[in-house]
Amino acid sequence: MIGDWLDIGPVDQIAPGTARTLPVRGGEEIAVFHTTHGEFFALVNKCPHKHGPLSQGIVHGTVVTCPLHSWNISLKTGEAQGEDKGCVPTIPLRVDAGRIYLLRSAVVGAKAPEPQAA
């Protein structure tokens, strides 16, 4: 089990309602979210629209609003909400005994979609 999951530290390093980032050398930076309800999610830190850093958006419920053009992205699925179309990869995450773990293979393998044309 240890082999498959990457320990990225304690849960209290991310305040509820905020996100923090995890750069991956040679890979895509990951945004790890903590909702006000206490759930954790990890997504590639790039909006499917124009690659805005989702980690910097306002979190409400299980949705983050991208700071660049206000697309709403589901933290659960990575899908753009409403009329907007696009999806950013999510990284399987689990919390155990106060620590956050990401699925190792997804951390290295994550690929951001091409940004969309205007």
Partner: protein, 836 residues
Amino acid sequence: MNAPTNLNESQVPAQLRERLVVIGNGMAGCRAVEEILARDAGRFDITIFGAEPRVNYNRIMLSPVLAGEKAFDDIVINPMAWYEDNAITLVSGDPVVSIDRATQTVVAKSGRVEPYDRLLIATGSDPFIIPVPGKDLEGVVTFRDLDDVDKMLAAAEAGQQNGGGHAVVIGGGLLGLEAAHGLNLRGMTVTVIHLMPTLMERQLDEAAGWLLKAELERRGQQILTGANTKEIIGKDGKVAGVRLEDGREIPADIVVMAVGIRPATGLAKSAGLEVERGIMVDDHMVTSDPAVLAVGECVQHRGACYGLVAPLWDMCRALADAACGVPSGYEGSVTSTKLKVSGIDLFSAGDFSGGDGAEDIVMRDAARGVYKRVVVKDDRLVGAVLYGDTADGSWYFDLLKKGEDVSSIREALIFGQAFASGGALADPNAAVAALSDDAEICGCNGVTKGKVVDTIKAGACSLDAVRATCKASASCGSCTGLVESLLALTLGDEVQQGARTLCKCTSFGHDDVRRLIREKSLKALPQVFQELHWSTPEGCASCRPALNYYLLCEWPGEYEDDQRSRFVNERMHANIQKDGTYSVVPRMWGGLTNPRELRAIADVVEKFNAPMVKVTGGQRLDIFGIKKEDLPAVWADLNAAGMVSGHAYGKSLRTVKTCVGSEWCRFGTQDSTGLGVKLERMTWGSWMPHKFKIAVSGCPRNCAEATIKDFGVVCVDSGYELHVGGNGGIHVRATDLLCKVSTEQEAMDVCAAFVQLYREQAWYLERTAPWIERVGLEYVKKALLDSEQSVPVLAARFRYSQQFMQDDPWAERAAGKHAELHQHLAEVRPLQLETL
């Protein structure tokens, strides 16, 4: 709760019975035995080991024992006679220390060896102890068994003799709050320290958590949320207090750790059984060894571990069915929670975290302190949170467990079973139509249905018109739905949409929200959501920043800015660019600079490899391409040269643009540069509905372009012309002349008053130009100039507010505040991926 008399006892001779050894004399272990006895009392020869030196009792009733509402005898489930009647050997006060699966024996602490044919592990869970200094001091207890309760009661008694003692409970979850409640009733001064911003965040959303906190505080408990325990302070080996990460110290005669539990898996793990978070079991509660069963809080079933009592009953049934040869299988449990604190009604069940396809239905009744939220997904109820009125809790829980299609009663679901099951009444319009004319619609303003209907018939065709005419739903807004129904019933399709609401979360417009924040003295976001009957649990990306500003503007020095409600630029104090880097603009007062500042900027550009520097339209320098993690270091360097934040990123005062004026220019009439610097010193740092730009031109040639600014000064020989409402953006708008004054001081005072009027009255994200177009120049003139008192009063309010705003946000960040906003969690490198 004793097992029923047995009817189908196996006719197995005693010496041939299977030997069942149970580790754990708690709720799960004994319930499993009861279930087995009920099915086949003669099947097993049973021995139960318990760590506690007493018979089996109802652990979840320890809270009422602590609170003095029950005695220990009241919560005993199985007295000694039960063990004797069923020929069970009870070994209490002697915990099992090892399991030998090869020889099928267990060894107890005393050295006693017990052979088994089937082993049942029901070790439950252990309280989680946070690893802080002082955790082993005398007086630090958990809340798990009767011994813990005895220690708390002893502390309360000792406190009473010394005129009241101090208790600190670490952990604001279910268990912690029940401990706090009990200690409070026992006369102790109680402080609850909770790491998260919301109490019981696993069971409650922010809104319900806020109501709970307010109620507990009303009862005299001190609740510290977002508080991190750094250490437990001791004196002579005994606990004396708790120190928080932020330096605060709270005195304590006893500290209760109630931060959570973890499955007690130690025995199983050292016996080589498969263990993840809990002991792995299948649907028949069998572990990786077919001879070993496990049940209760110590197990992990289909990935889930449970810390509540209800799943135990289902697990024990499945276990007994399989052990007695008629396997049925356990499929996991949906759980619900009730807080056992007398006088507080609180219920939660299922998943209410929202998300895709999930739809929230929220009902709030501020007058009764009620908050209800149900979550519907794919026409099924998936979650419910109830505060203040939990009468329908079991009905919702039933709907949730059965997964029934609720689409036919969806409209009325939130009103509860009585309403939703009422056939025709399930249509809210029909329910309103059935009300008599003298039925009260608006409790706040005492308006009856007849009066509302008359108002509508007399020409009030929109919600706003009704509110303005007869006041129905104009105060707390909880009857908005009823008024809307009356509009629909009376007018059909003729109903007119009213003024723009603040966002889709509310039926109130900006002005109403601001008025109600003032009238009802609302000082926190969750309080606004509750009192103004917000239709979403925690607002959205539109209303959160707006409300944060309105609260900040209304209660300067009191309201604590909520970073989570800030747009990225205002949270990061820099401007985000399309590649996710930031640009940094230090303030240059009135557009003036000097060699020291220029050198510092040049050094920053080189040191941080900024790819571009640009002169802005506001007479400053913009440094591009700074990474978020470098921002504090950039600011530290700029601070060292005397520069502060330019707020180029904020809904706030941006720049004061000037020309060189009478000091250098042959046409200059006044010291426009000097006045610009003074205006900027007065107004910098202030948060506004939108960005705000000022300019001062030294003569009517207007080189500083003052007539397309929010506030523009054009100097003339005889004084200063003050212009307002200009904009150089998408819709270019030249300023309107507000007035002419003769001294610098008057110009400054009018500027302060105008800024404050705009701050207090414009809608969030409304620049001065559309605001003035909306309210009219005459209105602004009247508000500022009709009375001699207006300008001084508004200016004084602005200056009062400014004393809380003019701390450089960059200096705070450079000193380490909110470091988490800038630092990565860690960096993942390929090597780490391979080896960790």
